[in-house]
Subunit: 243 residues, 2 copies
Amino acid sequence: MTSDMIWAPLFQRLKTTTGADDRDLEALAALPFTLRTFRENQAVLRDGEQPSECCLIADGFCFRSKTIVDGRRQILSIHIPGDLPNLQNLHFPTVDHDLIALSDCTLAFIAHKALNDLISQRSGVGDMFWRDTLVDAAVSREWIVNVGQRSTHNRLAHLIVELRERLRLIGRVIDNTFEIPLTQEQFGEAMGVTSVHTNRILRELRIDGVLELQRGTVRILNEHKLQELAQFDGRYLQMSPSS
Amino acid sequence: MTSDMIWAPLFQRLKTTTGADDRDLEALAALPFTLRTFRENQAVLRDGEQPSECCLIADGFCFRSKTIVDGRRQILSIHIPGDLPNLQNLHFPTVDHDLIALSDCTLAFIAHKALNDLISQRSGVGDMFWRDTLVDAAVSREWIVNVGQRSTHNRLAHLIVELRERLRLIGRVIDNTFEIPLTQEQFGEAMGVTSVHTNRILRELRIDGVLELQRGTVRILNEHKLQELAQFDGRYLQMSPSS
DNA sequence: CGTTGGGTTGATCGGTATCAAATAGCGTGG
DNA sequence: CCACGCTATTTGATACCGATCAACCCAACG
């Protein structure tokens, strides 16, 4: 894996969502990092840890989650290549949730010190990161709406469309088909329903010809029906510079 | 309302959660602002607007919300004096949700230009604001857990405790009693349940001697039972410097 | 092969929405 | 001061969504 491949998805995203300055990106790409690989289901960060580095997803997928006392688990966000899932630890030492590898994945770890030095030299880098955390927050708010108000069919459709839009930005959607290695149980944990119920919703969507999900591959069969269910307004993803 | 009263709750929060530098706070307090008052239920910002100012809640309460196509509304966050509910517009021009006055309230509007100038002069101010948005994001994640996984009793208890902790920080809790002018319907919209169901949960909590809610006044009757229900872990609020 | 983890289906139960109606509290104007 | 109207709260009856429990299927893999 070349350094180029590691930075490309992040740069793609930063350029599209925030109109990044090329010099800032060059400076970023010059930062030293350490690659580490994780296996499916392995914890990258655990609730309570105090990491001294931020990580960039170079390849594979991760998710944030919180587990409550009775053992129920909520997935808080899904992270794809190019995401920086723990930028918040630049400011707050302790992570307040788990970060877990959804698939085997490769993460680039960048020392807080190196990042902070760069940010103090180039304020544009800090601004980009701040914007990144703002989009992250906007996604979380949309997820509150998803689990709080939408019917489970709409909920699943919305989640699928969000993932597709984000994956499309990094070139991971081909023929309305994309890989997202979530099990039905994990889809359920992201939506606040059980895996059994997720299974039934998926069956209905399949029967209605909306979409198919097979071993982590989502295939959209009827874009119109999907949109109707998802009622997706992607502005919160900030996918055009200065939107 | 003196300038002191307007800034005090924000400074209280910034000092407690992020260990703010006094010079940064002085510089902040020197910023020009315009006071505007809003009536209960009046929109401060509407989805799609492009404000040129950020607002600070000087007095009263607001909430963020999103309304989906079928008319259902989700409350995304509740804002109390000292909160900066639209800092995100410093970076992204368009608001992607509504900001509505929960009670009659007074807001101080500070021009983006003035804020950006100050941030570029004093990077510590930018850092404080970034941290503020990070806490905001952490609260949103906790709300995802709340609506996604907790039983409605636990959900209400958790929401109550979160509000109490935040209000306590700005000196608004006396004898385990505090004002938060949410109707039962609005509690429901924050939790993803109907007002009828909220009413029934409240009745049970009242009968069990946990808490009382009357016209916007919450009185905690049994702290132990409340804690047991809420299972509240307040780390996400970052209420001690360098936690 | 046997084992295992995910997926699928069925039966039943409980929690919440929904619909409806009565009650209580509050602000306004007569 | 009272009458009125509006809104919030409260309660009841019923329907339905989704959880739970249980079983079985299936493909991947050691």
